[in-house]
Protein backbone atom coordinates (compact mmCIF):
# COMPACT_ATOMS: atom_id res chain seq x y z
CA UNK A 1 0.00 0.00 0.00
CA UNK A 2 1.30 3.41 -0.95
CA UNK A 3 1.27 5.55 2.18
CA UNK A 4 -0.55 8.86 1.97
CA UNK A 5 1.41 11.91 3.10
CA UNK A 6 1.84 15.59 2.38
CA UNK A 7 4.99 14.75 0.44
CA UNK A 8 3.08 12.19 -1.65
CA UNK A 9 0.49 14.81 -2.50
CA UNK A 10 3.20 17.09 -3.90
CA UNK A 11 4.85 14.20 -5.75
CA UNK A 12 1.59 13.13 -7.39
CA UNK A 13 0.81 16.73 -8.32
CA UNK A 14 3.83 16.57 -10.64
CA UNK A 15 2.14 13.78 -12.61
CA UNK A 16 -1.25 15.53 -12.56
CA UNK A 17 -2.61 13.05 -9.98
CA UNK A 18 -2.93 10.37 -12.65
CA UNK A 19 -0.78 7.71 -11.00
CA UNK A 20 -2.49 7.17 -7.66
CA UNK A 21 -2.66 3.51 -6.67
CA UNK A 22 -6.13 1.95 -6.52
CA UNK A 23 -7.32 2.00 -2.92
CA UNK A 24 -8.36 -1.65 -2.79
CA UNK A 25 -8.40 -4.68 -5.09
CA UNK A 26 -11.49 -6.23 -6.63
CA UNK A 27 -10.68 -9.92 -6.13
CA UNK A 28 -12.65 -12.99 -7.20
CA UNK A 29 -13.98 -14.93 -4.21
CA UNK A 30 -11.88 -17.82 -2.90
CA UNK A 31 -13.52 -21.13 -2.02
CA UNK A 32 -12.91 -20.71 1.70
CA UNK A 33 -11.83 -18.15 4.28
CA UNK A 34 -11.05 -18.25 7.99
CA UNK A 35 -13.64 -15.57 8.66
CA UNK A 36 -16.43 -14.08 6.56
CA UNK A 37 -17.83 -10.66 7.42
CA UNK A 38 -21.22 -9.93 5.86
CA UNK A 39 -21.73 -6.23 5.28
CA UNK A 40 -19.23 -3.75 3.82
CA UNK A 41 -20.11 -0.72 5.89
CA UNK A 42 -17.89 0.94 8.47
CA UNK A 43 -18.47 -1.65 11.19
CA UNK A 44 -17.88 -4.61 8.87
CA UNK A 45 -14.78 -3.22 7.15
CA UNK A 46 -13.45 -2.09 10.52
CA UNK A 47 -13.95 -5.59 11.91
CA UNK A 48 -11.94 -7.03 9.01
CA UNK A 49 -9.21 -4.45 9.56
CA UNK A 50 -8.83 -5.15 13.29
CA UNK A 51 -8.98 -8.93 12.67
CA UNK A 52 -6.01 -8.59 10.33
CA UNK A 53 -4.06 -5.99 12.25
CA UNK A 54 -4.56 -6.92 15.89
CA UNK A 55 -5.47 -10.59 15.79
CA UNK A 56 -3.39 -11.80 12.85
CA UNK A 57 -6.33 -13.29 10.94
CA UNK A 58 -5.81 -12.15 7.36
CA UNK A 59 -7.66 -14.81 5.40
CA UNK A 60 -10.85 -12.78 5.66
CA UNK A 61 -13.60 -11.85 3.21
CA UNK A 62 -15.95 -8.90 3.51
CA UNK A 63 -19.10 -9.60 1.48
CA UNK A 64 -21.13 -6.60 0.38
CA UNK A 65 -24.22 -6.82 -1.81
CA UNK A 66 -23.89 -3.26 -3.11
CA UNK A 67 -20.92 -0.94 -2.84
CA UNK A 68 -18.78 -0.09 0.18
CA UNK A 69 -20.34 2.21 2.72
CA UNK A 70 -23.54 2.56 0.68
CA UNK A 71 -25.87 1.89 3.59
CA UNK A 72 -26.05 3.71 6.88
CA UNK A 73 -22.34 4.56 6.80
CA UNK A 74 -23.13 7.00 4.01
CA UNK A 75 -26.53 8.03 5.34
CA UNK A 76 -25.86 9.12 8.90
CA UNK A 77 -25.16 12.61 10.20
CA UNK A 78 -21.57 11.79 11.30
CA UNK A 79 -21.85 12.69 14.98
CA UNK A 80 -19.39 11.04 17.37
CA UNK A 81 -19.81 11.20 21.16
CA UNK A 82 -19.67 8.91 24.17
CA UNK A 83 -21.76 10.58 26.88
CA UNK A 84 -24.00 7.58 27.56
CA UNK A 85 -25.62 7.00 30.95
CA UNK A 86 -25.00 3.36 31.83
CA UNK A 87 -21.58 1.84 32.54
CA UNK A 88 -21.86 -0.79 29.79
CA UNK A 89 -22.77 1.69 27.06
CA UNK A 90 -20.31 4.34 28.25
CA UNK A 91 -17.51 1.73 28.14
CA UNK A 92 -18.40 0.76 24.57
CA UNK A 93 -18.77 4.26 23.17
CA UNK A 94 -15.78 5.66 25.08
CA UNK A 95 -13.64 2.78 23.77
CA UNK A 96 -14.77 3.87 20.34
CA UNK A 97 -14.10 7.57 20.93
CA UNK A 98 -10.54 6.77 22.04
CA UNK A 99 -10.01 4.84 18.80
CA UNK A 100 -11.48 7.74 16.80
CA UNK A 101 -8.85 10.03 18.31
CA UNK A 102 -6.03 8.12 16.63
CA UNK A 103 -7.89 6.66 13.67
CA UNK A 104 -6.57 8.85 10.85
CA UNK A 105 -2.96 8.02 11.80
CA UNK A 106 -3.79 4.38 12.45
CA UNK A 107 -5.29 3.67 9.03
CA UNK A 108 -3.29 6.36 7.17
CA UNK A 109 -6.48 7.93 5.87
CA UNK A 110 -7.84 11.32 6.80
CA UNK A 111 -11.26 10.63 8.34
CA UNK A 112 -11.48 14.36 9.17
CA UNK A 113 -12.35 13.64 12.80
CA UNK A 114 -13.10 17.05 14.24
CA UNK A 115 -13.56 17.29 18.01
CA UNK A 116 -15.82 20.30 17.96
CA UNK A 117 -17.91 19.21 20.94
CA UNK A 118 -21.53 18.17 21.30
CA UNK A 119 -24.22 20.01 23.25
CA UNK A 120 -27.29 18.16 24.51
CA UNK A 121 -29.67 21.00 25.28
CA UNK A 122 -32.24 20.95 28.10
CA UNK A 123 -35.49 22.92 28.01
CA UNK A 124 -37.30 21.76 31.14
CA UNK A 125 -36.43 21.19 34.79
CA UNK A 126 -36.65 17.44 34.19
CA UNK A 127 -34.29 17.77 31.21
CA UNK A 128 -31.79 19.51 33.47
CA UNK A 129 -32.09 16.87 36.19
CA UNK A 130 -31.51 14.15 33.60
CA UNK A 131 -28.56 16.06 32.19
CA UNK A 132 -26.98 16.44 35.65
CA UNK A 133 -27.46 12.77 36.37
CA UNK A 134 -25.94 11.79 33.05
CA UNK A 135 -23.00 14.19 33.37
CA UNK A 136 -22.23 12.81 36.84
CA UNK A 137 -22.43 9.25 35.54
CA UNK A 138 -20.16 10.18 32.62
CA UNK A 139 -17.52 11.69 34.91
CA UNK A 140 -17.51 8.61 37.12
CA UNK A 141 -16.83 6.61 33.96
CA UNK A 142 -14.01 8.88 32.84
CA UNK A 143 -16.04 10.46 30.03
CA UNK A 144 -15.48 14.20 29.73
CA UNK A 145 -18.74 15.99 30.32
CA UNK A 146 -19.96 19.13 31.99
CA UNK A 147 -23.19 21.00 32.69
CA UNK A 148 -23.64 24.44 31.16
CA UNK A 149 -26.30 27.03 31.98
CA UNK A 150 -28.18 28.99 29.33
CA UNK A 151 -25.53 31.72 29.31
CA UNK A 152 -22.80 29.15 28.73
CA UNK A 153 -24.77 27.67 25.83
CA UNK A 154 -25.31 31.10 24.29
CA UNK A 155 -21.58 31.84 24.46
CA UNK A 156 -20.78 28.60 22.63
CA UNK A 157 -23.55 28.97 20.04
CA UNK A 158 -24.30 32.62 19.33
CA UNK A 159 -26.70 31.73 16.50
CA UNK A 160 -29.03 29.82 18.81
CA UNK A 161 -32.06 31.45 20.40
CA UNK A 162 -31.31 31.08 24.13
CA UNK A 163 -33.61 33.90 25.17
CA UNK A 164 -36.68 33.67 27.35
CA UNK A 165 -38.77 34.50 24.27
CA UNK A 166 -38.32 31.05 22.79
CA UNK A 167 -41.29 28.73 22.98
CA UNK A 168 -39.12 26.23 24.88
CA UNK A 169 -36.44 28.44 26.48
CA UNK A 170 -33.00 26.85 26.79
CA UNK A 171 -32.21 26.17 30.44
CA UNK A 172 -28.79 24.63 29.95
CA UNK A 173 -27.00 21.74 28.34
CA UNK A 174 -24.53 18.94 28.79
CA UNK A 175 -21.30 19.56 26.94
CA UNK A 176 -18.80 16.95 25.78
CA UNK A 177 -15.80 18.78 24.31
CA UNK A 178 -14.09 15.62 22.98
CA UNK A 179 -17.12 14.70 20.89
CA UNK A 180 -17.45 15.87 17.31
CA UNK A 181 -17.98 14.79 13.73
CA UNK A 182 -16.07 12.76 11.14
CA UNK A 183 -16.20 12.25 7.40
CA UNK A 184 -18.40 9.18 7.00
CA UNK A 185 -17.32 7.98 3.54
CA UNK A 186 -13.66 8.26 4.49
CA UNK A 187 -14.27 5.89 7.41
CA UNK A 188 -15.53 3.13 5.09
CA UNK A 189 -12.89 3.79 2.44
CA UNK A 190 -10.08 4.14 4.95
CA UNK A 191 -10.91 0.87 6.70
CA UNK A 192 -11.34 -0.85 3.31
CA UNK A 193 -7.96 0.34 2.05
CA UNK A 194 -6.19 -0.56 5.29
CA UNK A 195 -7.85 -4.00 5.48
CA UNK A 196 -7.08 -4.67 1.81
CA UNK A 197 -3.42 -3.88 2.46
CA UNK A 198 -3.36 -6.76 4.98
CA UNK A 199 -4.79 -9.10 2.33
CA UNK A 200 -8.47 -8.99 3.24
CA UNK A 201 -10.68 -9.75 0.20
CA UNK A 202 -13.41 -7.16 -0.24
CA UNK A 203 -16.15 -8.68 -2.41
CA UNK A 204 -18.55 -6.05 -3.67
CA UNK A 205 -21.69 -6.81 -5.67
CA UNK A 206 -21.84 -10.12 -3.83
CA UNK A 207 -25.10 -10.90 -2.09
CA UNK A 208 -25.49 -13.51 0.60
CA UNK A 209 -28.54 -15.61 -0.25
CA UNK A 210 -28.34 -18.17 2.54
CA UNK A 211 -26.27 -19.74 5.29
CA UNK A 212 -24.71 -23.21 5.23
CA UNK A 213 -25.58 -24.61 8.64
CA UNK A 214 -24.97 -28.26 9.57
CA UNK A 215 -25.48 -29.69 13.07
CA UNK A 216 -25.85 -26.25 14.58
CA UNK A 217 -22.48 -25.09 13.22
CA UNK A 218 -21.96 -22.52 10.48
CA UNK A 219 -20.02 -23.79 7.48
CA UNK A 220 -20.24 -20.82 5.15
CA UNK A 221 -22.63 -18.81 3.04
CA UNK A 222 -24.40 -19.12 -0.30
CA UNK A 223 -23.94 -16.07 -2.50
CA UNK A 224 -24.86 -15.00 -6.01
CA UNK A 225 -21.20 -15.71 -6.91
CA UNK A 226 -21.14 -19.23 -5.52
CA UNK A 227 -20.70 -20.80 -2.11
CA UNK A 228 -17.99 -19.56 0.22
CA UNK A 229 -16.83 -21.65 3.17
CA UNK A 230 -15.92 -20.38 6.62
CA UNK A 231 -16.28 -21.69 10.16
CA UNK A 232 -16.70 -18.17 11.56
CA UNK A 233 -19.18 -15.71 10.10
CA UNK A 234 -19.89 -12.23 11.44
CA UNK A 235 -23.08 -10.58 10.28
CA UNK A 236 -22.84 -6.76 10.34
CA UNK A 237 -25.76 -5.76 8.16
CA UNK A 238 -27.50 -2.97 10.12
CA UNK A 239 -31.06 -2.48 8.84
CA UNK A 240 -31.04 -5.79 6.99
CA UNK A 241 -30.03 -7.84 10.03
CA UNK A 242 -33.57 -9.06 10.57
CA UNK A 243 -33.59 -10.49 7.05
CA UNK A 244 -30.21 -12.15 7.58
CA UNK A 245 -31.33 -13.56 10.93
CA UNK A 246 -34.39 -15.06 9.28
CA UNK A 247 -32.15 -16.78 6.72
CA UNK A 248 -30.30 -18.40 9.62
CA UNK A 249 -33.57 -19.37 11.31
CA UNK A 250 -33.13 -16.82 14.12
CA UNK A 251 -35.52 -14.24 15.48
CA UNK A 252 -34.30 -10.81 16.55
CA UNK A 253 -35.61 -8.37 19.15
CA UNK A 254 -35.53 -5.44 16.80
CA UNK A 255 -37.44 -3.66 14.08
CA UNK A 256 -36.19 -1.80 11.02
CA UNK A 257 -37.35 1.78 10.59
CA UNK A 258 -36.61 4.56 8.12
CA UNK A 259 -34.47 7.36 9.57
CA UNK A 260 -34.23 10.53 7.53
CA UNK A 261 -31.69 13.31 7.38
CA UNK A 262 -31.15 16.36 5.24
CA UNK A 263 -28.57 18.97 4.35
CA UNK A 264 -29.04 22.59 3.40
CA UNK A 265 -27.34 24.70 0.80
CA UNK A 266 -23.78 25.64 1.86
CA UNK A 267 -23.51 28.63 4.19
CA UNK A 268 -20.61 30.62 5.60
CA UNK A 269 -19.45 29.29 8.98
CA UNK A 270 -22.22 29.83 11.51
CA UNK A 271 -22.19 26.79 13.78
CA UNK A 272 -18.90 25.32 15.01
CA UNK A 273 -20.28 22.61 17.26
CA UNK A 274 -23.07 20.03 17.31
CA UNK A 275 -26.38 20.96 18.92
CA UNK A 276 -28.88 18.25 19.90
CA UNK A 277 -32.18 18.69 21.68
CA UNK A 278 -34.24 15.77 22.93
CA UNK A 279 -37.13 17.97 23.95
CA UNK A 280 -37.59 20.10 20.83
CA UNK A 281 -36.37 16.97 19.02
CA UNK A 282 -33.81 17.78 16.39
CA UNK A 283 -30.09 18.09 15.97
CA UNK A 284 -27.83 20.09 13.73
CA UNK A 285 -24.22 20.65 12.84
CA UNK A 286 -22.39 22.35 10.00
CA UNK A 287 -20.14 20.38 7.70
CA UNK A 288 -16.78 21.60 6.45
CA UNK A 289 -18.46 22.28 3.09
CA UNK A 290 -20.80 24.66 4.88
CA UNK A 291 -24.07 22.80 4.63
CA UNK A 292 -26.18 22.39 7.74
CA UNK A 293 -26.57 18.68 8.51
CA UNK A 294 -29.95 18.07 10.11
CA UNK A 295 -31.80 15.12 11.53
CA UNK A 296 -34.32 14.02 14.12
CA UNK A 297 -36.49 10.99 14.83
CA UNK A 298 -37.28 7.83 12.97
CA UNK A 299 -40.48 7.26 11.05
CA UNK A 300 -42.60 5.20 13.43
CA UNK A 301 -43.55 2.44 11.01
CA UNK A 302 -41.38 -0.49 9.92
CA UNK A 303 -39.73 0.06 6.58
CA UNK A 304 -36.91 -1.25 4.41
CA UNK A 305 -37.41 1.34 1.68
CA UNK A 306 -34.58 3.77 2.61
CA UNK A 307 -37.13 6.56 2.53
CA UNK A 308 -39.65 8.00 4.96
CA UNK A 309 -42.58 10.37 5.09
CA UNK A 310 -42.64 14.11 4.59
CA UNK A 311 -44.36 14.93 7.90
CA UNK A 312 -41.22 13.63 9.67
CA UNK A 313 -39.07 16.03 7.64
CA UNK A 314 -41.46 18.84 8.53
CA UNK A 315 -41.23 18.07 12.27
CA UNK A 316 -37.44 17.96 12.02
CA UNK A 317 -37.23 21.37 10.41
CA UNK A 318 -39.77 22.84 12.83
CA UNK A 319 -37.45 21.84 15.68
CA UNK A 320 -34.41 23.38 13.99
CA UNK A 321 -36.20 26.65 13.26
CA UNK A 322 -37.47 26.72 16.84
CA UNK A 323 -33.87 26.60 18.10
CA UNK A 324 -32.34 28.67 15.27
CA UNK A 325 -34.93 31.18 13.99
CA UNK A 326 -32.24 32.68 11.74
CA UNK A 327 -32.18 29.43 9.71
CA UNK A 328 -35.82 29.75 8.73
CA UNK A 329 -34.99 30.88 5.20
CA UNK A 330 -32.16 28.48 4.53
CA UNK A 331 -33.07 26.18 1.65
CA UNK A 332 -32.66 22.45 1.96
CA UNK A 333 -30.53 20.80 -0.68
CA UNK A 334 -30.89 17.07 -0.25
CA UNK A 335 -32.91 14.68 1.87
CA UNK A 336 -32.54 10.92 2.25
CA UNK A 337 -33.36 7.95 4.42
CA UNK A 338 -31.57 4.91 5.79
CA UNK A 339 -32.84 1.74 7.45
CA UNK A 340 -32.04 1.61 11.15
CA UNK A 341 -32.44 -1.57 13.19
CA UNK A 342 -33.75 -0.40 16.53
CA UNK A 343 -33.69 -2.44 19.72
CA UNK A 344 -36.20 -2.06 22.56
CA UNK A 345 -33.50 -0.68 24.89
CA UNK A 346 -31.77 1.56 22.31
CA UNK A 347 -28.55 -0.46 22.66
CA UNK A 348 -26.88 -2.68 20.08
CA UNK A 349 -26.58 -6.45 19.90
CA UNK A 350 -23.04 -7.85 19.81
CA UNK A 351 -23.61 -11.50 20.30
CA UNK A 352 -23.11 -15.14 19.61
CA UNK A 353 -26.18 -16.96 18.34
CA UNK A 354 -27.67 -20.40 18.65
CA UNK A 355 -25.70 -21.30 15.51
CA UNK A 356 -22.11 -22.03 16.52
CA UNK A 357 -19.65 -19.75 14.75
CA UNK A 358 -22.33 -17.27 13.61
CA UNK A 359 -22.09 -13.87 15.30
CA UNK A 360 -24.29 -10.81 14.94
CA UNK A 361 -23.28 -7.18 15.34
CA UNK A 362 -26.47 -5.21 14.81
CA UNK A 363 -29.25 -3.26 16.47
CA UNK A 364 -27.25 -0.02 16.53
CA UNK A 365 -30.46 1.78 15.72
CA UNK A 366 -30.02 5.47 15.22
CA UNK A 367 -26.51 5.86 16.63
CA UNK A 368 -24.13 3.36 15.08
CA UNK A 369 -21.72 5.66 13.28
CA UNK A 370 -20.08 6.99 16.44
CA UNK A 371 -19.31 3.44 17.52
CA UNK A 372 -17.69 2.32 14.26
CA UNK A 373 -14.09 1.72 15.39
CA UNK A 374 -15.01 0.54 18.88
CA UNK A 375 -17.70 -1.83 17.66
CA UNK A 376 -15.36 -3.15 14.98
CA UNK A 377 -12.53 -3.64 17.47
CA UNK A 378 -14.47 -5.54 20.14
CA UNK A 379 -16.31 -7.56 17.49
CA UNK A 380 -13.03 -8.54 15.81
CA UNK A 381 -11.68 -9.64 19.18
CA UNK A 382 -14.81 -11.72 19.78
CA UNK A 383 -14.58 -13.41 16.37
CA UNK A 384 -10.87 -14.10 16.79
CA UNK A 385 -11.09 -15.56 20.28
CA UNK A 386 -14.50 -17.22 20.09
CA UNK A 387 -15.46 -15.45 23.30
CA UNK A 388 -17.23 -12.11 23.44
CA UNK A 389 -14.91 -9.22 24.37
CA UNK A 390 -15.63 -8.00 27.93
CA UNK A 391 -16.93 -4.66 26.58
CA UNK A 392 -19.23 -6.49 24.13
CA UNK A 393 -20.43 -9.18 26.54
CA UNK A 394 -23.27 -7.16 28.17
CA UNK A 395 -24.77 -6.59 24.70
CA UNK A 396 -25.64 -10.25 24.23
CA UNK A 397 -28.96 -11.11 22.63
CA UNK A 398 -29.76 -13.07 25.82
CA UNK A 399 -30.44 -9.83 27.69
CA UNK A 400 -33.92 -9.70 26.17
CA UNK A 401 -34.76 -12.94 27.94
CA UNK A 402 -32.82 -12.44 31.17
CA UNK A 403 -34.10 -8.88 31.55
CA UNK A 404 -30.63 -7.31 31.87
CA UNK A 405 -31.52 -4.51 29.46
CA UNK A 406 -29.32 -1.42 29.12
CA UNK A 407 -31.87 1.35 28.87
CA UNK A 408 -30.21 4.13 26.91
CA UNK A 409 -33.32 5.86 25.62
CA UNK A 410 -32.30 8.99 27.52
CA UNK A 411 -28.76 9.21 26.17
CA UNK A 412 -29.70 7.93 22.74
CA UNK A 413 -32.42 10.55 22.89
CA UNK A 414 -33.04 12.22 19.62
CA UNK A 415 -31.99 9.94 16.80
CA UNK A 416 -28.57 10.70 15.42
Amino acid sequence: MQRYSGFGLVKHALSHHENWQRQWRNPTPKKAYDVIIIGGGGHGLGTAYYLAKEFGIRNVAVIEKGWLGGGNTARNTTIVRSNYLWDEAAALYEHSLKLWEGLSQDINYNVMFSQRGVLNVGHTLQDMRDIQRRVNANRLNGVDSEVLDAKGVQELVPAMDCSQNARYPVMGASWQPRAGVARHDAVAWGFARAADAYGVDILQQTEVTGFKIRDGQIHGVHTNRGDIEAKTVGCVTAGNSGVMAKMAGLKMPMESHPLQALVSEPLKPVLDTVVMSNHVHGYISQSDKGDLVIGAGIDGYNGYGQRGSYPTVEHTLQAIVEMFPSFSRVRMNRQWGGIVDTCPDACPILSKTKVKGLYFNCGWGTGGFKATPGSAHVFASSLAKGEMHPIAAPFSIDRFNTGALIDEHGAAGVAH
Binding site: G242, K251, M254, E255, N302, S309, F400
Partner: protein, 119 residues
Amino acid sequence: MFYIYCPYCGEHREEEEFHPKGEAHIARPADPESCSDEEWGDYLFFRTNPRGIHHEMWVHAVGCRKFFNITRNTATYAILETYRMGEQPSITDDTREPLEVAQTPTETTPADNLEGVRA
Protein backbone atom coordinates in the same frame (compact mmCIF):
# COMPACT_ATOMS: atom_id res chain seq x y z
CA MET B 1 -46.81 9.84 2.64
CA PHE B 2 -49.54 7.32 3.32
CA TYR B 3 -53.19 7.81 2.52
CA ILE B 4 -54.87 5.42 4.91
CA TYR B 5 -58.37 4.02 4.91
CA CYS B 6 -59.72 3.93 8.47
CA PRO B 7 -62.06 0.93 8.69
CA TYR B 8 -64.04 2.61 11.46
CA CYS B 9 -64.44 6.07 9.93
CA GLY B 10 -64.91 4.61 6.46
CA GLU B 11 -62.70 7.29 4.94
CA HIS B 12 -59.23 7.72 3.50
CA ARG B 13 -57.26 10.18 5.61
CA GLU B 14 -53.68 11.48 5.57
CA GLU B 15 -50.88 9.77 7.44
CA GLU B 16 -50.49 12.57 9.97
CA GLU B 17 -53.83 11.62 11.55
CA PHE B 18 -52.46 8.18 12.44
CA HIS B 19 -49.70 6.65 14.55
CA PRO B 20 -48.10 3.28 13.87
CA LYS B 21 -48.26 1.01 16.91
CA GLY B 22 -46.17 -1.99 15.97
CA GLU B 23 -46.70 -5.55 14.88
CA ALA B 24 -50.27 -6.88 15.02
CA HIS B 25 -51.64 -10.24 16.12
CA ILE B 26 -49.21 -10.75 19.02
CA ALA B 27 -51.20 -12.65 21.61
CA ARG B 28 -50.45 -11.96 25.27
CA PRO B 29 -49.63 -15.24 27.02
CA ALA B 30 -52.77 -16.57 28.67
CA ASP B 31 -51.03 -17.15 31.97
CA PRO B 32 -48.08 -14.73 32.26
CA GLU B 33 -47.17 -15.95 35.76
CA SER B 34 -46.28 -19.39 34.43
CA CYS B 35 -44.20 -18.15 31.47
CA SER B 36 -40.51 -18.97 31.36
CA ASP B 37 -38.08 -16.05 30.92
CA GLU B 38 -37.63 -17.24 27.35
CA GLU B 39 -41.36 -17.12 26.56
CA TRP B 40 -41.95 -13.79 28.29
CA GLY B 41 -38.93 -12.13 26.64
CA ASP B 42 -40.01 -13.45 23.25
CA TYR B 43 -43.49 -12.03 23.77
CA LEU B 44 -42.23 -8.63 24.93
CA PHE B 45 -39.34 -7.96 22.61
CA PHE B 46 -38.95 -10.33 19.67
CA ARG B 47 -40.59 -9.31 16.40
CA THR B 48 -40.86 -10.77 12.90
CA ASN B 49 -39.64 -7.53 11.25
CA PRO B 50 -40.18 -8.87 7.72
CA ARG B 51 -39.00 -7.31 4.50
CA GLY B 52 -42.28 -7.63 2.64
CA ILE B 53 -45.79 -8.29 3.94
CA HIS B 54 -46.26 -6.95 7.46
CA HIS B 55 -49.40 -6.86 9.60
CA GLU B 56 -49.29 -3.90 11.92
CA MET B 57 -51.48 -1.92 14.28
CA TRP B 58 -52.18 1.75 13.74
CA VAL B 59 -54.28 4.16 15.75
CA HIS B 60 -56.40 6.89 14.21
CA ALA B 61 -55.02 9.31 16.79
CA VAL B 62 -56.75 12.53 15.77
CA GLY B 63 -59.77 10.85 14.20
CA CYS B 64 -61.88 8.18 15.85
CA ARG B 65 -58.96 7.26 18.17
CA LYS B 66 -59.49 3.57 17.47
CA PHE B 67 -56.86 0.95 16.83
CA PHE B 68 -57.05 -1.04 13.62
CA ASN B 69 -54.76 -3.19 11.48
CA ILE B 70 -52.93 -2.60 8.22
CA THR B 71 -51.31 -5.11 5.89
CA ARG B 72 -48.43 -3.29 4.28
CA ASN B 73 -45.39 -4.13 2.21
CA THR B 74 -42.36 -2.83 4.14
CA ALA B 75 -40.17 -2.77 1.04
CA THR B 76 -42.48 -0.93 -1.37
CA TYR B 77 -44.58 0.74 1.38
CA ALA B 78 -47.76 -0.23 -0.50
CA ILE B 79 -50.77 -0.53 1.81
CA LEU B 80 -52.57 -3.71 0.78
CA GLU B 81 -55.56 -3.67 3.13
CA THR B 82 -56.85 -2.24 6.37
CA TYR B 83 -59.10 -4.19 8.73
CA ARG B 84 -60.59 -3.91 12.17
CA MET B 85 -59.24 -5.20 15.43
CA GLY B 86 -60.29 -8.82 15.95
CA GLU B 87 -60.39 -9.54 12.22
CA GLN B 88 -57.83 -11.57 10.34
CA PRO B 89 -55.89 -10.32 7.29
CA SER B 90 -57.01 -11.56 3.89
CA ILE B 91 -53.52 -11.03 2.44
CA THR B 92 -50.69 -12.93 4.08
CA ASP B 93 -47.18 -13.97 3.15
CA ASP B 94 -48.61 -17.23 1.82
CA THR B 95 -51.11 -15.62 -0.51
CA ARG B 96 -49.33 -14.18 -3.52
CA GLU B 97 -49.09 -10.46 -3.28
CA PRO B 98 -51.41 -8.83 -5.80
CA LEU B 99 -49.67 -6.11 -7.77
CA GLU B 100 -52.38 -3.50 -7.55
CA VAL B 101 -54.62 -3.82 -4.55
CA ALA B 102 -56.64 -0.82 -3.61
CA GLN B 103 -57.32 -0.15 0.04
CA THR B 104 -60.73 -1.69 -0.16
CA PRO B 105 -63.00 -1.14 2.80
CA THR B 106 -63.51 -4.36 4.68
CA GLU B 107 -66.90 -3.16 5.88
CA THR B 108 -69.41 -1.32 3.77
CA THR B 109 -71.45 -0.07 6.70
CA PRO B 110 -71.53 3.73 6.57
CA ALA B 111 -69.59 5.32 9.38
CA ASP B 112 -72.72 7.09 10.63
CA ASN B 113 -74.35 3.81 11.62
CA LEU B 114 -71.46 2.73 13.79
CA GLU B 115 -71.45 3.51 17.43
CA GLY B 116 -68.69 5.68 18.76
CA VAL B 117 -66.74 6.22 15.58
CA ARG B 118 -67.11 9.99 15.44
CA ALA B 119 -64.25 11.95 16.91
